[in-house]
Amino acid sequence: MILFVSLAVGAGLLVGLSRQLNGRLALSTSAMESSFWNHIVGLAFVSVLALTIGGLFEGAPMEAPWWAYLGGPIGFMFIAAGSWAINRIGAAQTAMLIIAGQMISSVLLDAAMGISGSIWARTLGVALILGGMWVTRTAKAKS
């Protein structure tokens, strides 16, 4: 269990590390170029891994709906936005706003797709997150 907890925490550390490195690259190049390098280096890495482990085309990937293939363009915008923001508001605020955006949009998406869940918990969660964003935002606006 300690192994899996470490892996889960480690995944979070790696997300932060990745954003920090991409942010550093954007500092000398541009947010868009940084996102390009992130994707092409990641592609090389995953390709080598896929060749080593195998099974890349297992299953029926061609039967997936067309829109499931749009994760790449979305990811490009995501990395570019993160690299852009981290150099302007810092790593901590970038991380917390990304988390806020992810949580609130996932609640909205679940509601739109009619996925059942506790309405009070979702409302309370969104309210806490909006409160957190407001506290952070007013702190920066005055300083």
């Binding site: 907890v5 889960a8 995944a11 979070g12 550390l13 790696l14 997300v15 932060g16 954003r19 920090q20 490195l21 942010g23 550093r24 690259l25 500092l27 000398s28 190049t29 541009s30 947010a31 868009m32 390009f36 390098w37 994707h39 092409i40 990641g42 592609l43 090389a44 890495f45 995953v46 891994l49 085309f57 297992e58 997936a64 829109w67 499931a68 293939y69 994760g71 990811g75 490009f76 993160g82 302007r88 810092g90 790593a91 901590a92 605020q93 991380a95 706003l97 990304i98 988390i99 806020a100 992810q102 949580m103 679940d110 918990a121 309370l124 969660g125 997150i129 909006l130 964003m133 952070t136």
Partner: protein, 154 residues
């Protein structure tokens, strides 16, 4: 690194919007993983993302902000991203499940970002988090945990 740009609302909206993009990515890549292998669901977005990035760089030709070359290690963000996928999928298939994995991942991300800011890690601007940052962070984490564990979401 010379001067810190003043944080503006647009920066906050940009980071918030990036978070909304993650939800869409989880939907697209998760759907892909239902039909193909887990590896495929990471490989495809890297491939199509690289293709779009190439087109954008060729068309827009964004100028480099500095004539100095960035250090080579700054190009390794993609490797860290690729490792994230492996660590996440391994943890997700344990007793932690998706909700536990995401919650612990948020913790890791926040600890790293606070440390990175305080030290100016990897040549990014150094900034000491203020108490209001911690207050905001606490509220956002609390809200995220309520949604993850009680909202039936994610």
């Amino acid at each position: 690194m010379t001067e810190k740009p003043e944080p503006r609302l647009i920066h906050f909206l940009g980071a918030f919007g990036a978070g909304c993009l993650i939800t869409l990515m989880l939907l697209t890549n998760g759907t892909l993983a239902q039909y193909g292998s887990l590896m495929f669901s990471s490989w495809v977005p890297h491939l199509t993302g690289t293709a779009l990035a190439l087109v954008i760089l060729l068309v827009l030709r964004p100028a480099r902000t500095s004539p100095k070359r960035p250090p080579l290690w700054a190009y390794l963000g993609g490797v860290s991203g690729g490792l994230t996928v492996i660590a996440t999928s391994a943890a997700m298939n344990s007793a932690l499940a998706l909700s536990g994995t995401i919650a612990l991942g948020l913790a890791g991300q926040i600890v790293f970002s606070l440390f990175a800011d305080a030290r100016g890690l990897f040549g990014l601007p150094q900034r000491m988090p203020k108490w209001r940052d911690f207050a905001g962070l606490g509220l956002i984490v609390a809200g995220a945990l309520v949604i993850i564990f009680f909202g039936g979401a994610v």
